[in-house]
């Protein structure tokens, strides 16, 4: 591909790069914050704990502001050709779809920073002297996810996925204990294999098509290639996305990582990379859909492949969750199951399908952060992570109890919560596709997926069940306040600790959208329907 470059071409590509940089302001500010964090961590010796989060949050907020501005700018565009701006000669492409996802990442970054604020105080394994690294890596995840959502070139997809992965490996290890080490090692091993497979898939795709730009006309659409290797190439590449989504068969890392990593890190793991992977997957699928893969004379419909993956993800996530007692592990399987629901929306492959996927991931962000805030609040109050220890908490802390009920009901997908609307839209999209194509496997998936919610009810309800239906029987169970005192090195030793006010406000801020988006679904859908999907 390397050709002799003359000055004119060099100038053209230089100006392209300069022009592209203007579109990258949100990311640039995040990178600046990233650098500033490292410097501040080195330079400051005092009060790092309070300044570092401010830097991280400031960077995220600035970035958020620029994203909103970009969103408004792109909203005016109604022409398909102008809706997507290629940056850096097609490495990235910026469109309203990507911007919406990036807003979500920024939001999850901000939430994760808030989650982390008092986390260092509540976990005795948390190294206080590494706060700087912690926030730096956290920003790294957000930056990587943002690039993932924009990538339209297999190379940039790979690079951004790796950015997220490496940051995640580090963050998983942040408790510096046995569980964290084990989880991190598992994560690195699985992640390494997954990215190796993906890279192999990408190399196969490059070999067959001669380009890595998924939007270029030469990519996959051109030839009537029926080589089996091409199918393998596509499947392996998708495998890399599924790994980030924690979908079957690349889900095995999730439970251990969720259990071992710090709670704020898990909260962002479960949202940002997963949503970013959804964005990449939809981009990749929309680039390759026209190309029906076939091995010899056997046609492979990618929708069937995704349907099988979605079904398996739903089943494994939901059934495995039934046996979990650790709240974080339960959430891991729950997030696997949610990947299944998102995949259902992806495979519906229509405008409504895309709308519903975007709606779903938005609601999912609030639900999951809500659930992890709940786990964190309980943990900081009582030191419990096991659901069977949650006995009587609902009565003891009414706020926690009510919050648990709403969040869990939303995760199941029951009205009146946005979780229901999200599932309704996803399955409506599936029904619409079924109606148009008449493929009966779509209908089976619809029934299958909906009945999975009945299974999920059983384990999600376990949390309110223990909180309300079981009573604290023994003295230790009732006397939970002692937890903090038992742990050495903890400054605050007051006996009755109420949740800080900002944490309650944060909790309400997470619960409110779950109810609001049910009663005013059109509010969010109006935003989403401004996104132009290019198929």
């Amino acid at each position: 591909m390397i050709k002799h470059t003359n000055i004119g071409e060099l100038n053209a590509s230089l100006s392209d790069i300069l022009k592209s940089i203007a579109y990258l302001l949100p990311e640039i500010f995040l990178v600046l914050a990233f650098l500033l964090l490292i410097i501040a961590d080195l330079a400051l010796k005092q009060r790092r704990g309070s300044i570092l989060p401010v830097i991280a949050c400031g960077g995220l907020l600035l970035s958020f502001g620029f994203l909103v501005a970009q969103w408004i700018q792109f909203n005016g565009i109604k022409v398909q050709e102008l809706a997507s701006v290629p940056l850096f000669s097609g490495m990235l492409s910026l469109d309203s779809y990507g911007i919406f996802f990036k807003i979500l990442f920024c939001l999850s970054g901000i939430l994760a920073v808030f989650f982390s604020l008092n986390y260092s105080k509540i976990h005795n394994n948390y190294p206080l002297n590494r706060t700087g690294e912690y926030y730096t890596v956290l920003l790294g995840i957000v930056i990587g996810s943002m690039f993932m959502a924009m990538s339209s070139h297999l190379l940039s997809i790979y690079l951004s996925i790796e950015t997220v992965s490496i940051c995640s490996y580090v963050l998983t290890f942040f408790h510096f204990d046995r569980k964290g080490t084990e989880a991190s090692m598992k994560y690195i091993l699985f992640g390494g294999v997954a990215s190796g497979l993906m890279l192999y898939g990408i190399s196969l795709l490059y070999g067959f098509t001669g380009t890595l730009d998924i939007n270029s006309p030469g990519f996959l659409q051109s030839t009537g290639n029926t080589d089996g290797l091409l199918v393998i190439g596509v499947l392996l590449t998708i495998g890399g996305f599924l790994f980030k989504m924690a979908a079957v068969p690349f889900h095995i890392w999730a439970p251990d990582v969720y259990e071992g990593a710090p709670i704020p890190a898990v909260a962002i793991f479960s949202v940002a990379p997963k949503i970013a992977a959804v964005a990449v997957l939809t981009r990749f699928l929309s680039a390759t859909h026209a190309f029906d893969l076939s091995v010899g004379s056997v046609n492979i419909n990618w929708q069937v492949v995704v349907a099988v993956i979605a079904g398996a993800t739903l089943v494994i996530g939901n059934f495995a969750a039934l046996w979990q007692n650790n709240a974080k592990r339960l959430m891991a399987y729950s997030s696997i199951a949610h990947s299944g629901f998102i995949l259902v929306g992806v495979l519906a492959y229509s405008e409504l399908g895309m709308y519903s996927v975007v709606f779903y991931v938005t609601v999912y962000l609030f639900m999951n952060f809500g659930a992890f805030l709940l786990i964190k609040m309980i943990y900081q109050e009582t030191g419990f992570e096991n659901i069977s220890d949650y006995k009587g908490l609902g009565v003891q802390y009414p706020f926690i109890g009510v919050m648990a009920v709403i969040v869990m009901i939303s995760l199941v997908g029951l009205p009146p919560t946005a979780g229901f609307t999200a599932k309704l839209l996803i399955f409506s999209a599936l029904w619409e596709t079924y109606q148009q194509t008449g493929e009966s496997y779509l209908f089976y998936l619809l029934i299958f997926g909906l009945f999975n919610t009945v299974i999920s009810l059983f384990y999600y309800l376990k949390i309110p069940f223990y909180m309300y239906f079981k009573n604290a029987e023994t003295v230790e169970e009732t006397n939970r306040y002692s937890y903090r005192e038992e742990n050495k090195g903890i400054a605050n030793k007051t006996t009755v600790i109420n949740f800080p006010l900002w944490e309650k406000i944060l909790a309400i801020g997470l619960i409110f959208p779950l109810l609001f988006l049910f009663f005013k679904t059109d509010w969010l859908m109006n935003f989403i329907s401004h996104i132009l999907f290019i198929f």
Partner: protein
């Protein structure tokens, strides 16, 4: 004011629940009086609705709805846009806040208000976590009322599902020893049923358009102007011809629109004209079956009833009363309002099976009741048996049968509330309900025994009580069906009469074992505890007894109210059903 009565019915309990959030825990009695007060207000509103309800309505009560669905006389209509979604290539989706009442729902609204009032009085024995109890009770009341007045499927489903959560906690927190098991079983079972309903709901709104909104979007009907029937027919014709582009179609959850096959998008899965098949069965039949299963779980019909004895037995008295008195009726009401009305051909096609499962429930429930050792379980199974009559009456698709079903739901609500209160009276005093532990109670509790005798005789269908009229109408319908529309054979009615005999059997036997004969209590300590009825208990029993007798002697009070709607309903289901059946099976 009068235009928003139905909204008041739903929102007053909700507002009260919200208000209670800010009342401190310690004011225990205050909570009891609030739920009592709210239920009195609900009774007043329901009474007002009953008073204003026109049993022979003038034509054209409501402009839009009358155009949309001419034969159904919905009254007190409240309609407002709620959610309006852009679904991309699928067009738009409008979800309305749409409430109305007609003869099919009026009786159940009144019943609900009465039973909730009784439930509120019965709640005075609750003594722990009263704040939570009161809030959940009020949420449950709102959801129940909402179910009976909603005419938008989405809204109905919202209330239908929202009932589960308060019920789960009410059984699980205030229930008996096995409450945890019973509450989760109840939740899972009913959620399973609602998934069946949800699937049909998704299918329906994908297939059905709102002709008025579509007409407005397509420019056939002017904004703000009144809608005429001609315009509507024009829109429907264009939709059927496929000349309106997909993005201009307004999908809807409006049940009134779903009842007209002209509103189905051609080639959609649930369209009547072009039959889609799945597993060799028309999809519309499957949709009807899914609704049948979903609502039968709630009803409950044998063999989907097994959650009921557990939930009833473990629930506290007040909640058992509400569960049996109202919640079961939502199953029957849902079948009438949604299953039969939207898929009439399914109702005709599967009439034999519906009737069969009705008879099965009657006999199976009665036989089980005979075998029960626990008084509350006996009553629970008698509920299963009596709800079988609802299915049998509906299956007959005659005016008598359908009126009988409605009458049975109403009357069973009143009677079964009394029966559960009776079990509650014993349980409150002794913490025990086993039939064998009591004997000759007449001597200790003469007034209570009188009440029990009235309730038992009302339940077994003695003339003079409302249960008799209900069952008589169902039998008439079931017998006549063979001559009128040939839907269910005569033997079903004959076998069902066996249920009457059996119910006489288990009630009289229980009466004999527990109340007559030698005075006997298993524990000596109970002797001092078994006092006769107190004022609070009289306040619950006397209104119910009066109602049961009044509706047993003056059935016209009830039948006048419903007859117009029932006539329309039966005519509609038979006519539309036959037409659709020809279309579906003819191909």
């Amino acid at each position: 004011m009068a235009n928003h009565l139905l909204s008041f019915l739903v929102f007053i309990p909700l507002l009260a629940a919200f208000f209670l959030l800010f009342v401190p825990h310690a004011k225990e009695n205050f909570f009891k009086w609030v739920i009592l007060g709210v239920s009195v207000v609900e009774i007043v509103i329901a009474g007002l609705i009953g008073y204003l309800f026109q049993s022979q309505p003038d034509k054209g009560l409501n402009h839009e709805l009358a155009v949309l669905l001419p034969n159904f006389h919905f009254q007190m209509v409240e309609k407002a846009d709620w959610i309006d979604l852009n679904l991309g290539s699928l067009g738009r989706l409008s979800i309305d806040y749409f409430l109305a009442v007609d003869g099919l729902s009026i009786s159940l609204i009144i019943l609900s208000a009465v039973i909730l009032f009784i439930g509120a009085i019965a709640s005075f024995t609750i003594n722990k976590h009263l704040k939570g109890y009161a809030i959940l009770f009020l949420l449950l009341s709102a959801a129940i009322m909402g179910c009976f007045v909603a005419l938008d499927f989405f809204l109905f489903y919202l209330f239908f599902e929202f009932m589960l959560l308060p019920m789960y906690f009410l059984i699980g927190l205030w229930g008996g020893p096995r409450r945890e098991y019973a509450s989760i079983k109840f939740f899972l079972y009913t959620l399973l049923g609602s998934i069946f309903i949800l699937i049909v709901m998704i299918g329906l709104y994908n297939s059905v358009i709102d002709p008025i909104e579509t007409g407005k979007l397509a420019g056939i009907i002017g904004e703000g102007g009144t809608v005429t029937t001609e315009q509507l027919v024009q829109v429907q014709a264009q939709v059927q011809a496929g000349t309106i582009p997909g993005t201009k179609l307004v999908h809807t959850f409006n049940m009134a629109a779903m009842m007209n096959s002209a509103n189905f998008i051609p080639d959609s899965i649930l369209d009547t004209v072009v039959t889609s098949m799945l597993w060799g069965v028309p999809v519309r039949f499957l949709a009807f079956l899914a609704l049948l299963i979903g609502f039968s779980i709630k009803l409950p019909a044998v063999p989907l009833h097994s959650w009921l004895p557990d939930a009833h037995v473990e629930a506290p008295t007040a909640i058992s009363v509400i569960l049996a008195g109202i919640l079961l009726k939502i199953g029957g009401y849902g079948l009438i309002r949604i299953g039969f009305s939207i898929f009439p051909e399914g109702a005709i096609h599967y009439a034999w099976w519906i009737g069969f499962f009705g008879v099965l429930a009657i006999i199976y429930g009665a036989l089980n009741a005979l075998a029960m050792k626990d008084l509350k379980k006996l009553i629970a199974y008698s509920s299963v048996s009596h709800m079988g009559f609802v299915l049998l009456g509906l299956a007959s698709l005659t005016v008598e049968g359908t009126s009988g079903s409605l009458y049975q739901m109403f009357s069973h609500g009143l009677i079964t509330a009394m029966l559960f209160l009776i079990a509650g009276v014993l349980y409150d005093r002794t913490d025990n309900r086993l039939i064998a532990n009591f004997g000759g109670l007449t001597s200790a509790m003469p007034h209570f025994t009188a009440v029990v005798i009235i309730a038992f005789f009302a339940s077994l269908g003695l003339p003079g009580f409302s249960g008799f009229i209900a069952e008589l109408l169902v039998f008439l319908g079931a017998f006549n069906s063979a001559t009128v529309n040939m839907l269910i054979p005569r033997w079903m009615a004959i076998v069902a009469t066996l249920g009457l005999l059996l119910s006489a059997g288990y009630y009289l036997w229980t009466l004999q074992r527990m109340f007559f004969g030698e005075y006997y209590l298993r524990e000596d300590i109970w002797h001092s505890k078994l006092t006769d009825l107190n004022f609070r208990e009289y306040a619950m029993f006397i209104p119910l007894i009066i109602a049961v007798i009044v509706f047993g002697i003056f059935p016209s009070l009830f039948l006048d109210m419903v007859s117009d709607s029932v006539n329309n309903f039966v005519g509609f289901v038979l006519n539309t059903g036959q037409t659709n059946l020809k279309l579906i099976l003819g191909q």
